[in-house]
C-alpha cells in the first residue's frame, strides 16, 4: 500500500512538531503545550507545595511561583532543570519565559516585577550570548567579536595549544615536551574539530574538552616524569594538569572570539534591571552548550552575592553532575554553590532499561500529547480526507474506531510506540523522540503508520506482539499495532483495517498469553501472575520481592522477540534462555549428543569419540542469518512455533523438571523428542561432514584404516575385505620386528594405541562388542582399497578443534593429535608405509635371500648331528671352536616346526606383491628371527648353518694357504755375489784385452 486517507498536510506537521519550544510561535506553543505536572524536586530549599508529596513532585505552575518568589534585593537564586535531551527542558523554560513575561507585561511601570531573559539552546556562539543578554541595556557593543564557526581550524588549534603551553613554566620541560608531542596535539585537534563541527548543530550536545581527564591519564603513562612537575597542589597532578589545560584552551577561545567579560555584562544587567525596579530572571535553556561561559556563569552566580538574579539553568543529566562537581572543586567553601541552588528540578528518571520522562508518566499523557498535536495539525490543514475514506465509512466512524482526534493512530498504537521508545537500544522515553522521530515521521510517510512503524525498529525496538507467528494473514500488522488481547485472541475494530483497505476479521490467535508460573516446591502450575501467590497444592508461599521481572514476564518478553524473529521482523538476540531450553531437551533424550560414536553402537570397546566444544554442553545457535563460528545445533525460524516456545519455557523455568512441564501440559514432549532426535542427528551428520571436509577423509575411513593397520601388523593378513576387517585382533601380536629394515613406522607406539584404534573401529562399525555392522562396513569400503586409503590418510591436513578421542573420556586426546600431531599420528604410519613402498624391494630381496638360504641349508637337518668330530677341524683352522656345543641339544620338534615356518615365510615373501604384503610377511620373518620361542631355534639353526659354512670356508682357506706353501729358496745373496763376481771378471777381461 502506498496511500491511505489523510486529513492533514505534511507542512502542518513540521510547523507544530518542532524540536525546540522556541522555534514555535506562542500561538502554536499554546496549542500543543501539555502541562508538565510531574517535576521531581531535589536539593530543595524553596518548595513546600506538591502534587505528589511522597514523590516530591511539583507541577509547572508551582515552579513558576517559586521562581518569582524573590524580592528585588534578594541575592542570586539558582534553579537547575535537569533531564535527558528532549525531555521537555526547553518546553518548561519557554513556558516559564512566557509566564514571567506576561507577569512583567501587566506590571505597572514603576511596580517591581520579574523580567525574563531567555537564552535558547541554539544560541551557542559567545558573541550571540552576549548580544542576547544585553538586548535590553545600552553600552555594550560586540562588533569585534568573532564567531567560532568562521575561524579556520588550524588557527584555532595553534592558538589553543600555544595558550595551553603558556599556562606552564619554561622549567617544566617534561610538561612542555608532552604538550608539544604529536600525540597530544593530534588529540586536541581531533577534539577541537569535533567541537567546532557540533557547534553549528543545535541537536548535538557540545562540551569543550581539549582532552578528557581519563585520556590525559592514559597519555601520561608514556610521559612518566610530567606528573612530578605538578605535585604539591591541593588536587592530584593529573587533575591539576587537566584543569590547567582546559583553562588554557578556554582562555584561548575567549581571546580568539574576543567575546569580552561576561561577568561584567551580568553586573551591568543587574544594575540596569534594578534601575528599572525589575529583577532579571535569566533562563539558560542548555548550559551544556554554553561554550566558554559555563564555568563563569556558575562561578558568577554562586560567588557573587552582589547581583540579584533568579537563574534557571537547563542542563542535560550527565554534564550537570560534572559542572557542579567542578565548581565545588574550584571553591574554598563547598557551601557557596549549595547556598545558591534553590532546587534541582528533574524531568526524567533513570530506569533499569534507560530513562523515562516523568511527566509522560501522567496517565494517558502521551495520548493527550499526540491528540493535541494531531488536532492542531489537522486544524491547520483543510480537514478533508485525501484520498477519501472508503465508501461507507464516515469521519465519525473513524473517530469512533480510532478514538477522538487520534486518526491515523489509536490508543493501543500510541501506547505501543511510547512504551517502546528507545535510542541506541536503550529505553529513552522523551517527548522529543515521541513527537519528532515517531509521530511526525509516521504522519509524513506515504505508507500507513502500521507499515512504516515496523521500519522504525531503531527507535521502537520490538513491539509486543503475541499474535501467533504462524498467523500470516494480511491484517497481521494492523492487529499488531492497533489490536489488543481479548481472551485467547487479539482483536481490532474492523473499521481500522477497512480504512486502510485491508481485509480483516478483526481477530487473530495468540501464543502463550497468560503463561503461569510453577511452584518450586511441588512443581504444579500456579495460575496467578506476579510475585505474590500461594500454591493451592502444597501451600508454598512465593516470597519473591522486587528482584527484576518475574519468570512469566521474562518469558513473555523473550517470546515476543522470538515471535518477531520467526516472522522475519527482527533478529533474535536474547537467546540464552531458549538455548538453555534446547540444551535441556537434548540432554534429556541424548546422553552424548556430541558423540560421534555411531548411535546404534553398544560395544563396550567403542572409543570415546566426541566433539567436546564447550564441555558436555550441546552448542546451540540461533539463526540470525549469520553463521556460527563452529558447528552447532541451529534454531531457525522455520522450526515450529510450538517447539520454539516450549524450548523457551524450559529455558526460563529451568528449575522445573521437564516431567513437570509435561504433566502440566505446558510442553509437547513428543514433538520435542522428535526435534531433539532430528537435531542431534543433523548435528552429528554436519559434524561428520565438516570433519570430512577438513581432513578430506571421513571418520569411517579413518576407522577402517586404523583397523587395517592393526590387521597387518598383528598378523591378520593384508586382505582388505569386510570379513578380514571385522575379525578381532590380538593386540599382543603386534610386535616390533622391523628394526633391521628401512621401515620407520613406530610399531611399539602402534601397540600402545592399539586399543584406541580398535575402539575407533568399534565406535564406527560395531553394533555390539562381538557384532559388526557388516553391511555398513561393506558399503564404506566398497570403493576403497588399502593403498588409496593409505594415500588419503597420508594426505591429511587441517585442524578440527574440539574433537576428542580416547579409550575413555579421561584419557581423551585431541583428534588432531590422534591423526597427525605428536601424540599418536596415524598419518605418519600411512606416510611411513607409502615411503617404504618405494624401497621395500631391497629389504624383500635381502630377507628372502637370507631365509631361503637358511631354509635350503637346513634341509634334512634332524638336529642330532655329532658335533664332536667337527671340533677336531678347529685345531687345524684359524677359528675358535666350541660353537657347536651350544646347539648340540636342539629339539627335533622345534627344528621341524621352525623349518616349516621358515618354508611358509619364504613362500609368503615370494608372494609379496605390495608393501603391505611384505610388511605382513616380514612380520613372520621377524618373529622367527627376533622373538621367543621361535628365535631360539632359528638362531641355533642359523648359527649352526652359518658356523658350518664358516668352518668350511676356514678349511678351504687353510687348504689354499697350505697348498700355496712351496720350496722357494731365497738366493738373493747368492745372486748378488755372482753379480759381483761377474762384474770383476769383466773388468779383468777388459784388462786382458787392453794388454793384448
Amino acid at each position: 500500500m502506498t496511500q491511505y486517507p489523510k486529513n492533514w498536510d505534511s507542512d502542518a506537521t513540521g510547523k507544530f512538531i518542532k524540536q525546540e519550544a522556541q522555534e514555535k510561535n506562542r500561538e502554536i506553543f499554546e496549542k500543543t503545550h501539555v502541562p508538565i505536572n510531574r517535576i521531581k524536586v531535589e536539593e530543595n530549599k524553596e518548595f513546600d507545595t506538591w502534587v505528589d508529596p511522597d514523590e516530591q513532585f511539583v507541577d509547572e505552575g508551582t515552579v513558576f511561583d517559586a521562581v518569582i518568589n524573590s524580592s528585588r534585593d534578594d541575592s542570586n537564586r539558582l534553579f537547575f532543570v535537569v533531564g535527558e535531551s528532549g525531555s521537555g527542558k526547553s518546553e518548561l523554560c519557554q513556558w516559564l519565559d512566557y509566564r514571567i513575561q506576561d507577569q512583567a507585561d501587566v506590571a505597572a511601570h514603576d511596580e517591581f516585577a520579574h523580567e525574563p531573559i531567555l537564552i535558547p539552546r541554539h544560541i551557542r556562539e559567545p558573541a550571540e550570548v552576549l548580544e542576547k543578554l544585553t538586548e535590553g541595556i545600552e553600552g555594550h557593543e560586540f562588533e569585534n567579536a568573532k564567531y567560532l564557526a568562521d575561524l579556520p581550524i588550524e588557527g584555532i588549534l595553534r592558538e589553543t595549544t600555544g595558550t595551553i603551553i603558556n599556562q606552564f613554566d619554561r622549567t617544566q620541560e617534561d610538561t612542555v615536551e608532552f604538550l608539544t608531542s604529536d600525540k597530544f596535539e593530534e588529540k586536541v585537534k581531533e577534539n577541537l574539530k569535533e567541537y567546532v563541527q557540533n557547534f553549528a548543530d543545535p541537536d548535538e550536545s557540545i562540551t569543550f574538552e581539549p582532552i578528557e581527564q581519563e585520556e590525559l591519564e592514559v597519555f601520561l603513562e608514556e610521559f612518566p616524569h610530567v606528573e612530578h612537575e605538578h605535585e604539591g597542589h591541593d588536587i592530584g597532578p593529573v587533575e591539576y594538569l587537566y584543569k590547567e589545560i582546559k583553562n588554557g584552551a578556554t582562555e584561548a577561545l575567549k581571546d580568539m572570539l574576543f567575546a569580552g567579560d561576561i561577568k561584567e555584562v551580568l553586573r551591568d544587567i543587574d544594575q540596569a534591571y534594578r534601575d528599572r525596579n525589575r529583577r532579571p530572571v535569566l533562563i539558560i535553556e542548555d548550559l551544556t552548550g554554553f561554550t566558554i561561559y559555563d564555568h563563569q556563569i556558575i562561578s558568577f552566580f554562586s560567588d557573587l552575592s552582589t547581583a540579584h538574579f533568579d537563574v534557571i539553568i537547563g542542563v542535560t543529566t550527565g554534564p550537570y553532575r560534572r559542572l557542579i562537581d567542578q565548581r565545588r572543586a574550584d571553591l574554598a567553601s563547598e557551601d557557596t554553590i549549595n547556598d545558591r541552588i534553590r532546587a534541582r528540578l528533574s524531568l526524567t528518571k533513570e530506569t533499569e532499561d534507560g530513562s523515562k520522562t516523568l511527566f509522560l508518566e501522567q496517565e494517558d499523557i502521551h495520548i493527550d500529547l499526540a491528540r493535541n498535536y494531531l488536532r492542531a495539525i489537522k486544524e491547520e490543514s483543510d480537514g478533508k480526507f485525501e484520498p477519501p475514506l472508503p465508501e461507507g465509512i464516515t469521519p465519525a466512524d473513524v473517530d469512533d474506531a480510532f478514538g477522538e482526534g487520534l486518526y491515523p493512530f489509536n490508543e493501543s498504537f500510541l501506547t505501543r510506540i511510547y512504551e517502546n521508545l528507545q535510542e541506541e537500544n536503550v529505553q529513552k522515553q522523551t517527548p522529543r523522540i515521541y513527537l519528532t522521530f515517531v509521530i511526525e515521521e509516521l504522519l509524513n510517510n506515504v505508507n500507513p503508520p502500521f507499515e512504516h512503524a515496523d521500519k522504525l525498529q531503531q527507535r521502537l525496538g520490538i513491539i509486543n506482539n503475541p499474535i501467533s507467528s504462524d498467523y500470516t494473514e494480511p491484517d497481521e500488522q494492523v492487529l499488531k499495532w492497533y489490536g489488543y488481547q481479548s481472551g485467547d485472541q487479539y482483536i481490532v475494530d474492523t473499521t481500522i483495517p477497512e480504512v486502510f483497505g485491508i481485509e480483516s476479521e478483526g481477530k487473530a490467535p495468540i501464543v502463550n498469553i497468560g503463561v503461569s508460573d510453577f511452584c518450586p516446591e511441588c512443581e504444579n502450575k500456579i495460575h496467578e501472575r506476579g510475585n505474590d501467590w500461594e500454591c493451592p497444592h502444597c501451600g508454598y508461599e512465593s516470597t519473591r520481592r522486587g528482584e527484576g521481572p518475574t519468570r512469566t514476564e521474562t518469558f513473555e518478553d523473550i517470546q515476543n522477540e522470538l515471535l518477531a524473529w520467526r516472522r522475519g521482523e527482527a533478529d533474535f538476540d536474547r537467546t540464552s534462555k531458549i538455548e538453555a531450553g534446547g540444551q535441556r531437551v537434548i540432554k534429556h533424550f541424548h546422553d552424548a549428543p556430541n558423540s560421534l560414536v555411531r548411535p546404534e553402537c553398544r560395544s563396550s570397546q567403542a572409543a570415546y569419540l566426541r566433539w567436546d566444544k564447550g564441555g558436555d554442553r550441546v552448542p546451540i545457535h540461533v539463526d540470525n542469518d549469520d553463521k556460527p563460528r563452529f558447528t552447532q545445533i541451529t534454531l531457525s525460524p522455520d522450526i515450529s512455533e510450538k517447539i520454539l516456545t516450549d524450548l523457551l519455557k524450559l529455558g526460563v523455568w529451568d528449575e522445573t523438571s521437564i516431567v513437570a512441564h509435561e504433566r502440566n501440559n505446558e510442553i509437547d514432549l513428543e514433538r520435542l523428542r522428535d526435534w531433539a532426535d532430528s537435531a542431534v542427528e543433523d548435528h552429528r551428520a554436519q559434524l561428520e561432514e565438516e570433519i570430512e571436509e577438513e581432513y578430506d577423509v571421513s571418520l569411517d575411513e579413518i576407522a577402517v584404516f586404523s583397523k587395517y593397520l592393526l590387521n597387518v601388523f598383528s598378523g591378520e593378513g593384508t586382505e582388505f575385505t569386510p570379513e578380514s576387517l571385522k575379525t578381532p585382533i590380538d593386540t599382543s601380536k603386534i610386535v616390533s620386528v622391523y628394526g633391521q629394515t628401512d621401515f620407520e613406522g613406530n610399531i611399539t607406539r602402534l601397540q600402545d594405541y592399539a586399543d584406541l584404534l580398535i575402539g575407533m573401529f568399534h565406535a564406527r562399525f560395531h553394533i555390539r562388542k562381538n557384532l559388526v555392522d557388516y553391511d555398513r562396513l561393506e558399503q564404506v569400503i566398497d570403493d576403497l582399497n588399502a593403498d588409496s586409503l593409505r594415500n588419503q590418510i597420508g594426505a591429511i591436513e587441517g585442524k578440527f578443534k574440539g574433537l576428542k578421542i580416547g579409550e575413555t573420556q579421561t584419557e581423551a586426546i585431541d583428534f588432531d593429535a590422534f591423526l597427525w600431531n605428536k601424540q599418536f599420528n596415524l598419518r605418519k604410519y600411512a606416510l611411513d608405509i607409502s615411503e617404504y613402498g618405494q624401497s621395500y624391494q631391497s629389504d624383500l630381496e635381502d630377507t628372502h635371500e637370507e631365509l631361503l638360504g637358511l631354509y635350503e641349508d637346513v634341509q634334512g637337518f634332524e638336529g642330532n648331528l655329532d658335533f664332536e668330530e667337527l671340533e677336531e677341524t678347529y685345531s687345524h683352522v684359524d677359528r675358535m671352536g666350541g660353537t657347536f656345543r651350544n646347539h648340540s641339544e636342539l629339539s627335533q620338534k622345534d627344528v621341524t616346526e621352525t623349518i616349516t615356518r621358515l618354508s611358509e615365510t619364504v613362500n609368503r615373501l615370494e608372494d609379496s606383491d605390495s608393501v603391505w604384503e611384505f610388511l605382513d610377511a616380514y612380520r613372520t620373518a621377524g618373529l622367527l628371527k627376533y622373538h621367543k620361542p621361535w628365535n631360539e631355534t632359528y638362531d641355533s639353526l642359523s648359527n649352526v648353518v652359518t658356523e658350518l659354512e664358516r668352518l668350511e670356508e676356514s678349511a678351504d682357506n687353510k687348504i689354499e694357504e697350505l697348498e700355496s706353501r712351496q720350496f722357494e729358496p731365497d738366493t738373493e745373496q747368492f745372486d748378488s755375489a755372482q753379480e759381483a763376481a761377474t762384474q770383476l771378471e769383466a773388468e779383468l777381461e777388459d784388462l786382458e784385452k787392453a794388454i793384448q
Partner: protein
Amino acid sequence: MSEANPITERVERIQTKTDRIQKLQDEVKKIAQKQKTADQKNREFEDVRDNIRKVQEQYERLMEWSEYGERMDISMPEPEINALIDNLATDLRSFTSKSFEDFDDDSEVRTLTTTFEDHRTSLSSRTDTVREAVQNTVEDEVDSVERTQTLLQVPDIGDDDAETTCDNYWYHLRQLQRGNLGNTSPKKWEKFNAEYEGLAISLNAYDLSEKSETLIWDLLNDDETVHLSDLDGETLSDLKTFEEFSDIIELRFSTQS
C-alpha cells in the same frame, strides 16, 4: 626325508678337508726344513759377495798405482801381477759358472769366501810394492819442485805461470805422496809433470859466472851442502854483487867436515 641333506653333506666335506689339511701340513714341514738350509747357505753368500767386492777394490788400486808407475817409467813386477790376476780370473769363472744348488751347504760357501780373501791379500801385498816405488819417485819430484819454487822467489826469475805450474804439480805430487789417489789421476800427473818439465828457468839475467850459477843451484838443493872452501873469491864477489842473493844466502858454522 631322503632328499638332500646340506648340513650332513657339509659336515662330510669339512671332514675330508680336514684330512687334506693334515697332509698338507706335513708337506709344509718338510719344505720348511729345506728352506732353512737354503737360507743359511744364502746368507753365507753375503760374505762371498763382500770379499769379491774387496778384491775388486784392491785390484783397481793396484792397477792405478801401476799406471802411475808406468807413466813415471818405473820398473813393475809384471809377471807376478799377471799371475795373480790369472788365478783370480780362474776362481771367478769357477764361481760364476755354478748355480745356487751346486753348493751343497754353507760350509762349501765359506771355502769360497776364504779363496777370495786370499786373493785380496795377495793383491794388497803387490799393490804396496808398486805404491812404494811410485812414491819414491814422487818424493824426488817434490824436492825438485820445491827447489824451483825457492828460486822463483828471486826477483826477475820465472814468472806467475811458472809459479802456478809448480804449485799444481806440487799439489798432485803431495796427493800421491800421501796415497790420496782420489784427488788426482795418472793422466793429470802426466799433464802437470809435462808442464813442469817444460819450465825454462835460468839465472842469465844476473850475468853470473857459471860457478856462481852452479853454486846457487846447489844451494837450492837441500841435499847439497856448500862449504866456504868451495867459494872462490870471484864467486863470492859475484854473489855479493847481487843484493838479492847476498841477503838470502846464509852462512852456517858446522862442526862436521
